[in-house]
Each structure stands twice: as structure tokens, then as C-alpha cells.
Symmetry: C2
Subunit: 446 residues, 2 copies
């Protein structure tokens, strides 16, 4: 969900506040730019023979240090494999090479009436999005990468090439053996290099309406979300900004939204169905104390209405010029959101930290955009402790430490707390069975 | 999608036409009825120590012989663990023990305004549905079990208990490590015994409309389906019956539908949105040559309208009293459906076989309900050869040999053709790492 300038790089930038990892991280020994799966396979075989770590690299837009070369090794940059291979309009699917980004795909698809809706914010590569199990603002309606990948071509640690659903296969559903596709989705490069992905596509909606509504409390905003979902409104996006974030956005963009918890909503459908969706949603928000419900259908007004949400990252950074940002990523059951958000805001205030909140509230997933001075070691330490407390708060509320950014480097200890020794043991044995030499993106996830 | 009397049993009825498996299959040495996960675990430890195969058993409604005791061993009947454990209305989730069936759950949920929509026809246990990656008529809108399981409690071969998303966790989305949940969904009891499932729930739709429409050709029915999906109509069910099936249903239920390819449709939504969905769909079907478009909103008329679809299995059996039935289960990309259905119908005619067709056309998945005399060895042989040809036809069209029934006993060779040696090798190594003694439901899937 975050823009390009919050990039990692081939040299491996990791959690800006987490010095111990930063210090562990060194550049890869070499970067290779294979042009086809045969080259990826041949290079992987060389690495396998010589016990060289492999670090797959898409666009480097991941947020958890997944491309850091902890143990050196060979970085596989996949940007030269950038072809859209097969669009099947009637079947609502497409196959892409690993260098194709989501914006490039959607631009390619423009004349087909189809689009790929998963939108993590950054113009990430689609295979990278598969590798990290990305999602973003549209997930409440269209699902995450887990629900939208039909097949993957993967080069394993030993250089062999497998197709997770069988070569060239693309049925919309399948019960054929173990779900290998979803084993590699979210494996963050630790089980293999994704060299091709077959994705589900959707019809571009006939019409889109955007809306904004202010609330007296976090509880009122979350209640509205639950009621909208209960009412079966097929909402496409339902995004939450807390008062601090709204204030930052107002300042950054010269806007004048009430400085209270706010929902940004988007509806996809036909002209007629949108009228009803908007009407129902307005009734629900109003019954929950929502005010200033504004909506817009034409593209220009929609863009203005959502400007605050789109620029949230930059608005947060602008709160403290010269500082850096890091996004937390917990996800909890919807009913737990008010509790955790209120407690988290108190924690931020008590510790004098800047962390405006933006979230995909329809999924129970929210981010504190922690703005901090990386040269202030005390602040760095306090942010680090805050993020751990926040993650443990989510775990105590039956949630996860990562809704969509992944584990990468910094959340490995939290993952163990989240999963418990049994599930971690299973993950470890899967890793050992597919990558016995621990060459695939070592030091990540597990 | 098939009713209860097409059951397997603890003694392991398998593909009725596939004698060689039937002969291999013997009763389990013992059936145990554990009452809690601790008992499942303790029993599994005994089996592990004494190298006894474990065959998990839910309701025995699986269609591919998954509960057959090929090597004897211990059948774990989970019917005594039948509690609905936690309904979280605001979070749209529920946790169930393995003896809870989908009808029992939906009856339990009635007062909450929520329901679990995955509907394979039979009143299967929900954990069994998870184990076989079941889906059915609602999948085009609500997804299959793969999209609707949030967490599983699983007892592994050695008796250890793991929670695939961490104990008690139920965020609506997660990027925390490998997706173990979807590794066990569809593993057909070969990786562990599912003893608890946390499932997604949905709001019961405010209104439902059912519709039926006849078409001049399979192509016209499929084109209508594609156009409905392209138009973004959020259709809940879109089911295809071929002329032979319609004829059988007419005879069985004294109906008078035109004996042509027919779509049975269902729309879920609000009163207003349904009007538009139905109008759009009627326009699309009409543009594709559809005729006799009938629709109904009140429950009684809806039930009458869909009676043909609901009774398809019995209507097929009634074509040849005293015979048995077996359902094929291929799934192909939508655009390939007309081709494969037309070719399959010719094959049926050429070989003098009875196999009316019903399908979940929105997913590209269809079934030939093969009605055959199990004592006629020549017919049994011809049906067997037909099902293999049909599966290979689907494979040649980039599809799968099983859209929702699973691999079980009879499709293991086809699975190898579908996946290729690379993916099969990965499946095999996953199996070996989690069940090194091959005790979990041996002889199935792989």
C-alpha cells in the first residue's frame, strides 16, 4: 500500500529502526539478470552446486527487508523477464513473467475491459506480490494474492522447474492434490523463485463511486464497517484514517476534513446498483453517528475526495521533514479493531511517538505509519519497542503480526509467538524438504 | 453436490466401476470414536508407535473413495466431536468441531443473520469439506473451501497437534509465514486429521431470486455465462444442465422445460439490486438466443423453478432403475466448455453410455452423471475408459481432472499426468516430511 520511495534496494535496506539487522545485511556478491526461465534454472543450478544463497528480486518494493542479502550470495533480478504472455479474455485470466508490474499489466489490459484489482499501493511486480502474499485496499472485495493466483512457475533451489498447478493449467478451481500454488504464495522467496504467474482477472466496473464520512469515534467507524458488510453491500474499498492521519492529510493537501476518525469508501458496480449501495451505506453510517457523508461519481471529484487517503504516506512523512517512516501491519478480527486502535493511540501518545493510522478496516488490517529520526537512537529504540507491543496486542486479540507485508527479517520472532512450536515445526520441515541446503533467501521468514 | 445415498462407508466403497480398487479395499481393523482432540492425539500416537494406518472419517459423503481402508488400519470416526464452538457475529467467523455438518451449522446460525454458503449438495461435515477442498453451486460467488477456511486444528501422523494459523487465531487475512491452512485444505486426510476448523461466514442475503433460461446450444449458454460475469453481475449460482439432463428431470418431476441446454441461476442481494441483476441477465441471455427466461422471488416458486436442478442426481438414476451412478468432475477454462461438452456428448452417444451433464458453469466445472449397471462388466469397462478420455480431454484443454471431488483413489494416475513429475515430486516430498511412515490415509492422492 505504500509508494515507491519507501523502497528496499538490491543492497538490502531493512527495517530502518532495526540496526542489528541492518548491520547483518551486506550486498549480494553478484546480481544476475536472467532473461528466461531456462537461464534462471541454469543459474540456480550453479548456485546449488556452489552453495550460494539466492535472493529473488522483483521491484524491491517489499516492506520487510525480504531482498536483503544477509549472507551475501546471488541476487536474481527478474526485471528483464517482463512480458505479458497470455491474456484469455473469456476465461478471465492472464499469465505474466516476473518483471511485469501491476500497473504495467493493467495498462496492457486496458482495451480488454478487464483488470487485476489487487493493489498494494506500490507498483510492485505481480510475481513479487505473489511471493509476499500482498493485498491492499481492494482486498475486502477482490481478495488478496492468495485468492487470485491460479498457477505459478517456480524454480526450486536445485534449479528444477515446477508448475504448481501443472504446466499451462488454468481452471478457475481445482481439487487436484496439495495446493502448491498457495504454498509458494507468501513464501517470500524462501522456497523457490517465481518465474511466471497465472492470475485471475475481473471485469472493469461499469461505474465507480467514492465516498468519505467522518465519525465521532473509532468504534462508530468500525461498527459502520461491520454493518455495511452484514448488509451485503459489495463494497470495493473501505479505508480508515484516524484523526492524526486526517490532520496530517489536511495539512499536506490543504484539505479541510473534520479531524476525527474517517472512512474512505469506494463502490464498484453498475450505475443503478451504485445508487443503492451508496444509499444503504449512508443510512448505516448516519445511524452510527457518521457525518459529512460526501460522495462523487466523476473521476476528477473522486480523485479529490480520496486524495487524503492516496497521499497518506507522504502526508505522514511531511509531519517531520527529514525523518523516515516504517509501517506496522497487524490484522485482527473486526470486533477487536476499536479496542486495539484506541489502546495503540494511547501508547503512541504516552511514548511521544508519531504514528498516524491508516487501515483496510474491512479486513481488520491497519498500519501505524511510524515517522522517526533514524539518527535518534532513543527514538529508534522506542519505536522498536512500540511495534513489538502492538504486534503482541494483536496476537492477544486473536490476530496476526502481519496482515499483508509479510515476515521478512524483522518479524521472525513474532511469527514464532504467533504460530506456536507445532506450526513452526511444520513450516521448518517444509522448508527443509524443498530447500535442504537453506539457499533460498536465507534468514527470512523462519 | 450429490445427495447422501451416494455414500461411501467405513468399509470403503470406491468407484463403483473400478473393480481393482474395490478388491484392494478392505474394512479398517478398528473404528474409534474420539470425543476430543486429546483423544484423537492419544490414539494417533498409538497408531504411530505401532505403524497402523489412520483413515479419518467425517460423514462418508466423499465421492472418490477417500475413506477406503486400503491397508486396513484404524478409522477415526469424528462424529462424536460435533460442537459449534465459537460464533463471532461481528467478525463473520465460526469454529466447528469435525462432526458438525454444513446443514447443522446453518441451522445453528439461523438467528444470527449469517450463513456458511459452500454447498456441495450432500450434508457433509465441514472439516471433511475442508479435507477434500469441496465447493459446489455457490462457489462462483462465495469461493470454495480454499477461500473460506481461516484456521485448522490438525493432528499430525505422530499425534502432535498444530494450528495452521496459530492457536485461536482468526484474522480475515494474513501474510504470516507459509500458508499451512491451504496445505491441509484438500489434502484428503493424507497429511493429518482435521479436528477443528475456523470458517468465514456471510450475511444471509436480504432477498433471493431464482431464474431458468433455455438455450439453442451449449455455446449460447456458456457465452451468456461469460457475458454475465464480464458485466459484473454478482451472480450467486449459475448452473448448466444439458438436454439429456433436462429431459431426465422433466420425466422425474413431471416438468416441461424445453429439452435444450439450460441455465439455472440464482441471485443474492437486496430487493433493488436483484431487479437490476435479473434485468441485465435477461438481456444478456436474450442477446445470446436464450428463451423462456423465467424468474421467481418467493420461496415456493423458486423451489419449483429449481426442482429440476436439485433433483438432477435422482432424475439421472431414474433413467435406469436398479443402476448405480458415478460423477465425473473435470474443470476447464470457461472458453473451453462448449468444445469439451459437445465432444463429450458425442463420446457418450458413440459408446452407448448414459451420462447426463450438470455443471457449475461459472467455474468451468461440470459432471457427467454416469448411470451404469455395475454387474455389466463390459459397460463398467466402457464407462471407465470414457471417464479417462474425458479427464484427458480436460487436461488437453488446460483444465483439471478434478474441480471439486478430489483425487482419492481413482485419479492418482491422472493427477500425475496433470501435475507433471516436478510438481508431483514436491507433493511427494511434502508428504514424506509430514508423514514419513506413510500412515495417514495411505494410498490416496499420491
Amino acid at each position: 500500500m505504500w509508494p515507491e520511495h519507501h523502497l528496499s534496494s538490491v543492497r538490502g535496506i531493512v527495517l530502518v529502526f532495526n540496526r542489528k539487522y541492518f548491520e547483518q545485511c551486506r550486498p549480494p556478491d553478484v546480481v544476475v539478470f536472467p532473461r528466461c526461465v531456462e537461464e534462471v534454472s541454469a543459474l540456480a543450478k550453479i548456485c546449488y552446486r556452489h552453495n550460494l544463497p539466492i535472493i529473488p528480486f522483483g521491484t524491491g518494493t517489499g516492506l520487510e527487508g525480504g531482498v536483503g542479502a544477509l549472507k551475501g550470495g546471488v541476487c536474481f533480478s527478474l526485471r528483464k523477464m517482463d512480458q505479458v504472455l497470455d491474456v484469455h479474455q473469456e476465461d478471465f485470466d492472464v499469465t505474466v513473467e516476473p518483471g511485469v508490474t501491476r500497473k504495467a499489466l493493467n495498462s496492457y489490459l486496458r482495451d480488454t475491459g478487464l483488470w487485476f484489482p489487487v493493489d498494494p499501493g506500490a507498483d510492485a511486480s505481480l510475481c513479487g506480490m505473489a511471493a509476499t502474499s500482498a493485498s491492499g485496499t481492494n482486498a475486502v472485495h477482490y481478495g488478496t494474492m492468495r485468492e487470485n493466483v491460479l498457477n505459478l512457475e517456480v524454480v526450486l533451489a536445485d534449479g528444477s522447474v515446477v508448475h504448481t498447478a501443472g504446466k499451462g493449467r488454468r481452471p478457475r478451481k481445482s481439487a487436484a492434490g496439495y495446493n502448491l500454488t498457495n504454498l509458494f504464495v507468501g513464501s517470500e522467496g524462501t522456497l523457490g523463485i517465481i518465474t511466471k504467474a497465472t492470475l485471475r482477472l475481473y471485469g472493469i466496473p461499469e461505474a465507480v463511486v467514492s465516498a468519505v464520512c467522518s465519525f465521532p469515534s473509532v468504534q462508530a467507524a468500525v461498527d459502520s464497517t461491520v454493518h455495511v458488510l452484514q448488509a451485503g453491500v459489495p463494497i470495493a474499498r473501505i479505508e480508515f484514517l484516524d484523526d492524526v492521519m486526517v490532520d496530517a492529510c489536511n495539512k499536506f493537501n490543504s484539505l479541510s476534513y473534520p479531524v476525527t476518525p474517517t472512512l474512505f469508501l469506494e463502490f464498484h458496480g453498475t450505475e443503478d446498483s451504485l445508487d443503492e449501495q451508496v444509499r444503504t451505506t449512508e443510512e448505516i453510517t448516519s445511524a452510527n453517528g457518521g457525518a459529512d457523508f460526501q460522495w462523487a461519481r466523476d473521476e476528477g471529484t473522486r480523485a479529490r475526495l480520496w486524495k487524503a487517503r492516496h497521499d497518506a504516506w507522504y502526508a505522514a512523512l511531511a509531519l517531520r521533514p527529514g525523518c523516515k517512516a516504517y509501517a506496522t501491519d497487524v490484522c485482527v478480527p473486526l470486533s477487536r479493531l476499536p479496542h486495539i486502535i484506541v489502546e495503540t493511540k494511547e501508547d503512541l501518545i504516552q511514548n511521544g511517538l508519531t504514528g498516524p493510522i491508516a487501515g483496510h478496516v474491512g479486513d481488520g488490517n491497519f498500519h501505524c505509519i511510524m515517522v522517526l529520526d533514524p539518527d535518534d537512537s532513543d527514538e529508534v529504540q522506542r519505536v522498536h519497542q512500540f511495534t513489538e507491543r502492538l504486534a503482541r496486542r494483536a496476537l492477544a486479540l486473536e490476530g496476526t503480526c502481519t496482515g499483508e507485508h509479510g515476515v521478512g527479517l524483522g518479524k521472525r520472532a513474532l511469527l514464532r509467538e504467533e504460530m506456536g512450536p507445532g506450526a513452526m515445526g511444520v513450516m521448518q520441515s517444509l522448508k527443509e524438504s524443498l530447500d535442504p541446503k537453506n539457499l533460498m533467501n536465507p534468514g527470512k521468514v523462519l
